[in-house]
């Protein structure tokens, strides 16, 4: 899972003048031709730094993203749901593993990434700082948060960095299970008993604002960096992703007779664009900066997991071990 998350932070597109112009030209030509960059290729520092930041945040979002739905892992109703919920949360852990590995090929160690996550130096998708109060929240996450993530990930899979694209190809294949599973669970609640419908509608109401926040602030408020578009690091704008999400999923929500807590939400027949009430972007900023309902818990859980596993790792570490950067 991943969102536009952190786009308030401007990047400093400096230092390019220090790069070798011939190598830079070759690098850009390769991307221009639609070829992937591989870890052993020459690449400008800014590209490396931006990719590390982006892939690392994506990885953090997966491992933290395992927690809201993990809330319901021991309570999933019935065998089908129980097995699928376990497999779904497991996949998110697997996605974190794949993405940390992709980021490692760029030279940042997994140890440093985890340290930066837990000590708050590095961000993850805001949406996982919200609580999953009921089983219905969990189904809404599986369906719609993953749907949002897929919009992002499919775009990013067309980016320029080989290891990230390979990880995303695998991730997207697994996400299609998450999406179908989530939808199936939502449909069961929507077409089920009045109690089931009610818990679903309430969950949907709770998650709508975080979902609108998911893709990041509107383009007009965001910082643009042409160079990241040119280098195929940033593949779609926040608004493009949000529009695509609304277009694909609002009709599917409405067809179940469910409502969304935004009276202004509709598709403008002339422009083909969805119109909506801007969500509270101050809240978004507050949560990103640590003041959401679950920020502290999410990080504390990760910290505890790392601490409780420390003796295992310490005991197994061979004195002969040497770390080299993984290859692909």
């Amino acid at each position: 899972m991943y969102g536009g998350g952190n786009t308030f932070e401007p990047i400093k597109a400096t230092g390019l003048e220090m790069e070798d112009p011939a190598k830079l030209a070759e690098f850009e030509a390769r991307i221009e031709r639609g070829e992937k960059i591989e870890p052993q290729d020459w690449m400008p520092n800014l590209y490396r730094k931006q990719l590390i930041r982006m892939i690392e945040q994506h990885a953090h979002s997966e491992i933290i993203g395992a927690l809201p739905e993990g809330t319901w892992i021991t309570r999933a109703p019935g065998f089908r749901r129980k097995l699928a919920q376990m497999a779904k949360v497991q996949d998110e852990v697997g996605h974190a593993q794949l993405l940390y590995s992709a980021a490692e090929t760029l030279g940042k160690s997994r140890e440093d990434m985890i340290t930066d996550l837990i000590n708050g130096k590095s961000k993850y998708s805001n949406i996982f700082n919200y609580p999953a109060f009921t089983w219905a929240d969990s189904t809404v996450i599986s369906w719609l948060v993953d749907a949002g993530a897929i919009v992002n990930q499919i775009a990013n899979a067309k980016g320029s960095y080989g290891p990230y694209c390979r990880a995303l190809d695998r991730i997207c294949a697994e996400e299609s299970f998450h999406l179908k599973y989530g939808h199936d669970a939502v449909v069961h609640l929507a077409t089920g008993t009045p109690i089931q419908r009610k818990m679903l509608q309430e969950a949907l109401n709770r998650w709508w604002t975080p979902l609108m926040h998911f893709f990041g602030p509107p383009d007009k408020m965001s910082v643009h960096t042409e160079i990241l578009v040119k280098w195929k690091v940033k593949m779609a704008t926040n608004d493009e992703c949000r529009q695509q999400f609304l277009d694909m999923y609002v009709p599917k929500i409405w067809e179940l007779g469910l409502s969304l807590p935004d009276p202004k939400l509709h598709k403008n027949a002339e422009t083909g664009e969805w119109e909506y009430t801007e969500p509270d972007w101050e809240e978004f900023k507050r949560v990103i900066n640590g003041d959401g309902p679950c920020n502290a818990e999410r990080l504390a859980v990760r910290r505890t997991a790392e601490e409780r596993g420390a003796w295992v790792r310490k005991a197994l570490l061979s004195p002969k071990a040497t770390y080299v950067t993984p290859l692909a």
Binding site: G70, A87, E174, A300, L327
Partner: protein
């Protein structure tokens, strides 16, 4: 005394997660070294690079690789090797073979006797390394030379060479650890079909 979180997640409540706390920066190798994992999807298909796992040794790497890279679809075999035991050629562009860039790169001591080496090619940027076959050689330098003779006409944007004895091969007799994979339908998108329920719902509400 440290406050403990009251979580919505009963598992977390049992963990006793404390509110206050700071993680000491992880030391290097806290997450172990890395192993490259190759797997074969079907009998007769070439082994492909799947990715890496962090693991304390190759037996653990095998256990980890199996569930991280072959918990879906089908699998008939897996190979594991320490990352630093993979010797790589430079990477090139489509017009050029990686073998053309080799000559002066590898200058390590040659072994006295012949050993086996597994050869892999990256055939296209963005794809995975694919196993081409095995060569016999006196060392890595020689292995690249042999590989070039055997597989040089195939696309090779980058070549990997691994001494066969450095690889852990899954046991022929253990193939059955993957046998029930196709049964685990609950992990597959196709197992979830809700259109009947949606249509029934629409019909029901249209009548009202």
């Amino acid at each position: 005394m440290n406050d403990v979180f009251q979580s919505l997640d009963p598992r977390i409540n049992r963990l006793g997660v404390t509110v206050e706390g700071h993680l000491e920066a992880k030391s290097s190798l806290d997450q172990f070294e890395t192993y490259e994992v190759f797997f074969q999807m079907k009998e007769g298909k070439p082994y492909e690079h799947a990715g890496i796992v962090h693991a304390p040794n190759e037996d653990m790497a095998f256990l980890f690789g199996k569930e991280q890279f072959s918990r879906r679809y089908t699998c008939t075999g897996m190979w594991i090797v320490k990352t630093h035991q993979v010797i790589t050629s430079p990477i090139t562009d489509h017009e050029q073979s990686a073998y053309d860039l080799l000559d002066h790169r590898l200058a390590e001591t040659e072994l006295n006797e012949l050993s086996h080496f597994e050869v892999f090619h990256l055939k296209k940027r963005g794809r995975q390394q694919v196993h081409m076959g095995r060569v016999q050689a006196k060392g890595y330098h020689d292995a690249f030379k042999q590989a070039s003779e055997h597989f040089g006409t195939e696309p090779a944007l980058q070549v990997w060479v691994i001494r066969s004895q450095d690889l852990l091969f899954s046991d022929e007799a253990d193939k059955d650890i993957w046998f029930t994979l196709p049964e685990k339908k609950y992990r597959d998108a196709i197992a979830y079909k809700s259109s009947d329920k949606i249509n029934a719902y629409k019909e029901r509400t249209a009548k009202q």
